[in-house]
């Protein structure tokens, strides 16, 4: 699927496509396995700023490497995960977050799935209800004038 993206890159920019990803290099890995685990987790949520939709964990761009090292540096300095993320957002802005924060600009983004679910469920359940009633009453074709006349005759006779 990335194929099509690369096609676009090739076609539109005539630039060479994303080179094969060889992201985290052996030299970057922290000796403390638990801390490295934390670094990987944070890296997966940070965008490589010069790539299209790649996390710094997946990208081999030099800038992504710088960011990976920065994350590890801050972790080594003893900062919490949240503090590391705050530091990076302060430097690069919300754009760096692959999971956008909830704020006035993204409220719609975060509420939309739930809103869609409720609206669709309501609409479809209403539609099936309507089909229930229509099948029993509303769907019946009204009598033609001849039929009505006949009905009246029958009723009058009885």
């Amino acid at each position: 699927m990335r194929a099509a993206l690369i096609l676009v890159a090739v076609i539109l920019a005539f630039a060479s496509a994303a080179p094969p990803a060889l992201a985290v290099e052996p030299g970057e890995i922290l000796p403390d396995a638990a801390m490295e685990q934390r670094a990987r987790k944070l890296s997966a949520e940070l965008r490589c700023l010069v790539c299209q939709n790649q996390s710094i964990d997946d990208s081999n761009a030099p800038l992504a490497k710088d960011l990976r090292l920065l994350v590890r540096e801050r972790l080594l300095a003893g900062e919490s995960d949240a503090k590391v993320m705050d530091y990076i957002v302060a430097r690069y802005g919300d754009f760096v977050l692959l999971k956008p924060p909830v704020n006035s600009k993204t409220l719609l983004l975060w509420l939309a799935p739930l809103a869609c679910l409720v609206a669709l469920a309501y609409a479809l359940i209403q539609a099936s209800r309507r089909s229930t009633t229509s099948a029993t009453t509303a769907d019946a074709t009204p009598l033609s004038s001849a039929e009505e006349k006949k009905l009246r005759q029958i009723l009058e006779k009885s």
Partner: protein, 660 residues
């Protein structure tokens, strides 16, 4: 000369498409059989002309005619033949030509095989189909002409990007387009039905095979792309929630919903309005996918603004067909009469739930994909919406869908019995529970949610088999009787079972490889060994080599499992000649338990090489699942009842109300 011939054929095809758009529709309006029948000839002729255009462009690629600009830009004389051919659609102009070729193919197929369609409906379907053809043929001729000449011709072409020179990728676009464009049939039928002002169960029966065929192709097309990304991009990722992936995934989700709602419409005459709407939206999403990929709007809003010609054109096409379709829907939908009533717990109710969840999932992907673009256009603020957002919003919608899936086929039409269905799913539930416990016992700590995912996958697989078991009364009657019943099941039942089984298999693959993958990134010197995923790997070093159009360095690993030699893997790093570009080729050892995946990195100053080793458990189930969905679709399509077309109510056995 032949290229000019193709160029001319394309222009002629546009003229024929205009004729096909106007004449049959007018014929349907005034009820003139001769004018309506002209649509058939036009549809076949249009296909023939575009096929000539396509063939002549393909010829230019095969003989490396670099006086054609498109060939010079995208091909190279030393490329292997298969990639010369796939190079035809490996670029913008050629891929759009493939787009209209497939569009015309579907139109011609309706003309040829739609003999039992009511003549006015058929004429209108062909006219709508032609209108799409007019739009895209004009787009090609006016903005993206692949037949332009380049004089003087260069000595050689620029070449196709080497990572695209791959067998899976060669056939990825054609399948994807057959899916995208195949949904145009559902669209054309929907618009024609709205023009007619009436729609019935027979309509759904006509539309379903086309939708199913398109859905199958899209399924396999997406799977091929994912498979390619997995082995080619070098770390075993198979889905990235990339906007371009999403562009193909949205029509798939909507198309899957459409397949299921069309069943309700066909069997019970219900959900008509919704099915028509879904048919319009599914193709609209295909158009949007084309717009997103072709306009460059994804790479940046600014790139779009710099060279807007093509983007604006496709945007106009998209707005015209989506807007026009929805406007017509808004005007005429009220005239469509609703049919069959049903209780909330029923086959229909289950399929409505399927539609609610799939459509919401589709809307979620749509919003996540477009929101950053819309926000930037509106406020200038830049945000990123990536995998973490989609995982957080999409997966909670899939979990209930998958849990509910096995119940659906056990519910009767109109009014189902949930308790009885649960009884029949007892064995499946026990299997799922066993999987849950085993996963908790043996899985890594920390990923508490993964065992539930595996259990759900197992439940779907066992549940789909339970349906077949219940239908054949397995264990309740003699084995001869069970075999007799098995043989007598309609093919669509097997199709459903296979496809649903594939969904379960894919679920297991996705969960297992996401949660339990093992990874080692290290520097290895020749002679050193390392263990991963139960395998022991000994690194033997690097040998340089020369391929057809690249040089490469091949690493060598001896792989042993519990002391016995399994295989040797040779991941490599390549440098292509034209364009000069490095790629990595992973060395993969596949087994049912999972893939051992090795990637060669750079040489280190100390004489070692950086290597990446992964073990991806059950990862092949992802694509195997997709293949089963494809086969399931094909088996369903071969069902006589689908092929016959018009329903024969008198002959339909009321007792057999199978699910599809």
């Amino acid at each position: 000369m032949i290229t000019e011939f193709g160029h001319f054929a394309l222009i002629l095809a546009l003229v024929v498409a205009v004729f096909q758009m106007v004449v049959p529709a007018y014929g349907a309006h005034i009820r003139d059989d001769r004018l309506m029948a002209a649509g058939n000839t036009a549809a076949v002729l249009q296909f023939g002309l575009i096929a000539i255009a396509f063939a002549s462009l393909t010829r230019a690629y095969i003989v490396s005619d670099f006086s054609v600009l498109n060939v010079a830009t995208n091909s190279h004389s030393t490329k292997p033949l298969i990639y010369k051919i796939s190079g035809v659609w490996g670029n913008h102009e050629g891929s759009m030509l493939l787009w209209v070729l497939i569009l015309a193919l579907f139109g011609a197929a309706v003309a040829a095989y739609g003999t039992n369609l009511p003549t006015t409906l058929k004429a209108r379907v062909l006219a709508v189909q032609a209108s799409i053809g007019v739009a895209f043929s004009s787009f090609i001729i006016l903005t993206s002409n692949p037949f332009l000449r380049l004089l003087p011709a260069p000595a050689d072409g620029r070449g196709l990007n080497p990572i695209l020179q791959d067998p899976a990728l060669a056939f990825h676009p054609p399948f994807l387009y057959m899916g995208y464009v195949g949904f145009s049939m559902a669209f054309s039928f929907a618009i024609a039905a709205l023009m007619e002002g009436r729609v019935n169960a027979a309509w759904a029966r006509w539309v379903r095979p086309w939708t199913l065929a398109a859905w199958m192709c899209l399924t396999i097309g997406i799977a091929m792309g994912s498979w390619w990304a997995y082995y080619e991009l070098g770390w075993g990722g198979w889905w990235f929630w990339d906007p371009v992936e999403n562009a193909s995934f949205m029509p798939w989700l909507a198309g899957t919903a459409l397949l299921h709602s069309a069943v309700v419409m066909e069997k019970r005459d219900s959900l008509k309005v919704w099915t028509i709407l879904l048919a319009i939206l599914t193709f609209s999403l295909s158009l949007m996918g084309t717009f997103l990929v072709r306009s460059g709007v994804l790479s940046s809003v600014h790139a779009f603004a710099v060279d807007p010609e093509r983007g604006v054109f496709v945007l106009a096409i998209m707005i015209f067909f989506t807007g026009g379709g929805l406007a017509l829907f808004a005007m005429r939908a009220r005239e469509l009469r609703q049919g069959g009533a049903f209780a909330p717990v029923s086959r229909e109710g289950g399929l409505v739930l399927n539609n609610i969840l799939l459509s919401t999932a589709c809307a979620t992907v749509l919003i996540g994909t477009l929101y950053p673009l819309a926000l930037e256009a509106a406020t200038g603020a830049k945000i990123s919406v990536g995998a973490p957002y989609f995982n957080l919003t999409f997966l909670p919608l899939m979990a209930p869908l998958l849990i509910a899936l096995p119940f659906g086929p056990f519910l009767a039409w109109k009014r189902g019995d949930l308790t009885a269905a649960s009884q029949l799913l007892k064995v499946a539930a026990i299997i799922a529970l066993a999987v849950l416990l085993i996963a908790f016992a043996y899985g890594q700590k920390g990923v508490w949610i993964a065992p539930f995912g595996l259990a759900i996958g197992a439940f779907v697989m066992a549940g789909s088999l339970s349906e077949l078991a219940a239908r054949t009364k397995l264990g309740k009657v003699s084995s001869e009787e069970t075999i007799r019943r098995f043989v007598n099941q309609p093919r669509s039942i097997f199709g459903t079972t296979l496809a649903h089984f594939g969904v379960g298999l894919m679920t297991i693959g996705v969960v297992a490889t996401s949660a339990y993958q093992a990874e080692k990134i290290l520097v290895m010197k020749p002679g050193e060994s390392v263990e991963i995923g139960g395998y022991a790997l000994k690194f033997n070093g690097i040998t340089p080599s020369r391929g057809a159009n690249y040089v490469e360095q091949i690493g060598s690993f001896d792989v042993t499992l519990r002391g016995t030699s399994v295989t040797s893997l040779s991941p490599s790093k390549r440098l292509y000649d034209s364009p000069p570009q490095p790629t990595t080729e992973a060395g993969i050892h596949a087994s049912w338990a999972g893939d051992l995946y090795t990637v060669l990195g750079d040489s280190q100053p100390d004489g070692g090489y950086s290597v990446r080793l992964y073990f991806h458990p059950f990862v092949r189930f992802i694509w195997l699942g997709a293949v089963l969905m494809f086969i399931g679709g094909a088996v369903s399509l071969s069902d006589r009842r689908l092929r016959v077309g018009a329903p024969n109510l008198a002959r339909r056995k009321p007792a057999a109300a199978p699910a599809e």
